[in-house]
Subunit: 393 residues, 2 copies
């Protein structure tokens, strides 16, 4: 069993499969947050004695995230959540009326709504890239995604929006290959990647370094506190993008308002945020690192997700969405009655919740989603499969 | 002595005058945050069992802030900080090229830089409203501010940006009278009020209800945790303003991206934030309420700030910026040498900090700022005055 598991009080009283919604917070990470708050009160809260501690927290976490993402620390901006990381830089790009945004058809409604609003304002058009039902195994799916991209690109395409790991189906998309293709396009479209489900579950360095905007949160697969994420920005975005929300953290000289924005990722940071959370995420990332390399961790995640996926295939009343074993820890599936009739996913969530087994329903496609992480045990997978089998009787 | 003071570990080892930078966090508020995190792990973090608790925290704090601000709860949007509260709604307003933004000359560089960037994008012009050196007592200053406004308004004025309580001089501005004047202007300019220094120090209900955007933070005079603030939005802003940063919290139906934004303040909320902070701010506001009405609390704040202001006037080497007693707890002043030469404010901050007395320097005008709150004792004011007198020798 994972050493990490013993540090997670959330897992003590439930069978938990909602890592993709929110990861459990390890006790040492909560303690790190509280210790930081106490130290902040002891030294500060607003004194010259406290700045070195806060500066060290910030630069330490920025450097660690940069290592995870395979980029230099100046490309990282801290954000409150994934949506802010996706959208803040978007509003600052130099748009021209008539340009086109190409959005994957499995993106989160938040980023889709933001793109609709951006398109309305800047008189852009929107097109959809079908990636929700890619066929076959990973290499077949990658080829199909790239072929779909080829068909969808137009001379007006200026932005492509995709997730690294689709939140609904669990499919991994070939972000580096997409970035390469876009680099060869005459307009060199920007590549925005929603990495909500990838950091902490799959190795991200190649994709994060290839995208223009690679936005993630600490509170899902990284098991950090809610309210803290970051975004990796490409050098060309940092050069061409203007800050949007603007506050003292965006400014190189806090005392001079006239265009003295930071040239690095901080130009997209805004103002005061909850600094103790930095210590919590730092602690959680360190605990994950102690469990092994990102590849080793992924293999453990896959071991459980693949067992769950296989078990679902073997159930007479279930059908996984993915036609091949999941690339990471997201396993989505549909349930049906013995007579073939549909089962309401929300009702299943409530029924299993009453048994202390927590997964979630998704609206589009209507399905259930169970996530396995490092901390998921073989017994938990068996328990879920048994509970699902019972529903089919 | 204030009951609150005994609950503030930050005040145990220092003489603190930086409430306008960040307020100390009461121990019960930190405990409320930690208890919420523990309960969140016990029930969740992502389960149907945890939503009622989180929903209750959010609606409870929204209702409390609405009472403080004299508005209905649907006019409140939670934000991460004051800058986000100021700027998020601004980007969503329907601008027309050639319109003018009128900004007070004592605004924080963050909001000034945001207005510059907005003006660049939307081809607006910028003008300055001089309020930094208003003369006389409060009623003379109010009259002078309104006269300055009268001179500065043009037919193109579409937005006025002012603070309720100026962060540098401590002057209180007549926000309701400004709002009344703007309502009579043919273009009915929007009124954005930076309330960073007012909520928790002065009664805000009349001003908050009169402005279109009244943005504040919980971590200064309210003594809540850093990383949580809110903004009060006017009904017309909610009707005419479009959301900008957009995430699941902006959407009425989280599962449908196509223009289903909330009609209330939530249309300017974004996505996941640190929910336990809500419990911390709720606790701190309740502790302030227990100290007396907002008017009674202000009188206690003024008692100390006025004693400090008078003491500074009596020092041979100091000169307060305000020509009359401060309206709230901000007391800014200049120091000079016996020979009349200037003293570097940053050096004074370091020297006094080494004695455990913390105030801050400000760049424009170059001065020192000491804040008194409910928790400031008579002895602390005396200690500061003595230390400043020593510097003049």
């Amino acid at each position: 069993m994972s050493k990490l598991r013993a540090l997670l009080p959330a897992l003590a009283n439930k069978t938990y499969f909602n890592y993709g919604g929110q990861g459990p917070l390890p006790t040492p990470s909560l303690e790190a947050i509280v210790d930081t708050w106490r130290r902040l009160q002891e030294l500060g809260p607003f004194t010259e004695a406290v700045w070195p501690m806060l500066g060290g927290l910030s630069s330490g976490l920025r450097a660690r995230l940069a290592r995870w993402c395979g980029v230099s620390a100046d490309r990282i901006a801290f954000t409150e959540n994934v949506s802010a990381g996706c959208v803040l830089p978007l509003w600052g790009l130099p748009w021209q009326a008539g340009e086109e945004i190409l959005i994957g058809d499995a993106e989160h409604p938040g980023v889709v709504a933001a793109c609709h609003e951006l398109a309305r304002r800047e008189q852009l058009s929107l097109a959809t890239l079908p990636v929700r039902d890619l066929p076959g195994d990973q290499s077949q799916a990658d080829a199909a995604a790239l072929a779909a991209l080829e068909r969808a690109l137009t001379p007006r395409t200026r932005l492509v929006v995709l997730s690294h790991l689709l939140w609904n189906s669990g499919r991994l998309l070939p972000i580096e290959a997409v970035a390469q293709r876009l680099a060869a396009h005459p307009r060199q479209p920007w590549l925005l990647v929603d990495a909500a489900q990838s950091l902490g579950s799959v190795p991200v360095a190649a994709a994060a370094a290839a995208a223009d905007i690679y936005a993630f949160t600490g509170h899902k697969w990284c098991c950090g506190p809610e309210g803290l994420g970051a975004v990796v920005l490409s050098p060309r975005l940092l050069a061409e993008g203007r800050p949007t929300l603007i506050g003292w953290r965006s400014l190189r000289n806090e005392n001079a308002a006239a265009d003295s924005f930071h040239n690095d990722g901080r130009r997209f940071e805004v103002a005061t945020s909850c600094t103790p959370l930095l210590a919590g995420l730092e602690s959680s990332l360190a605990l994950l690192e102690a469990e092994g390399s990102d590849q080793a961790r992924l293999e453990r995640i896959q071991k459980r997700s693949n067992a769950l996926w296989q078990g679902l295939r073997d159930l007479p009343n279930a059908r996984p969405l993915l036609p091949s074993a999941p690339a990471a820890g997201l396993v989505s599936f549909k349930l049906h009655r013995p007579d073939g009739g549909a089962i309401d996913p929300a009702a299943v969530v409530r029924t299993l919740g009453a048994q202390g087994i927590w997964l979630r329903s998704l609206p589009d496609p209507a399905c259930l989603r169970a996530c396995t992480h490092l901390t998921t045990t073989e017994e938990e997978v068996v328990r879920l499969l048994q509970a699902l089998a019972e529903l089919g009787k």
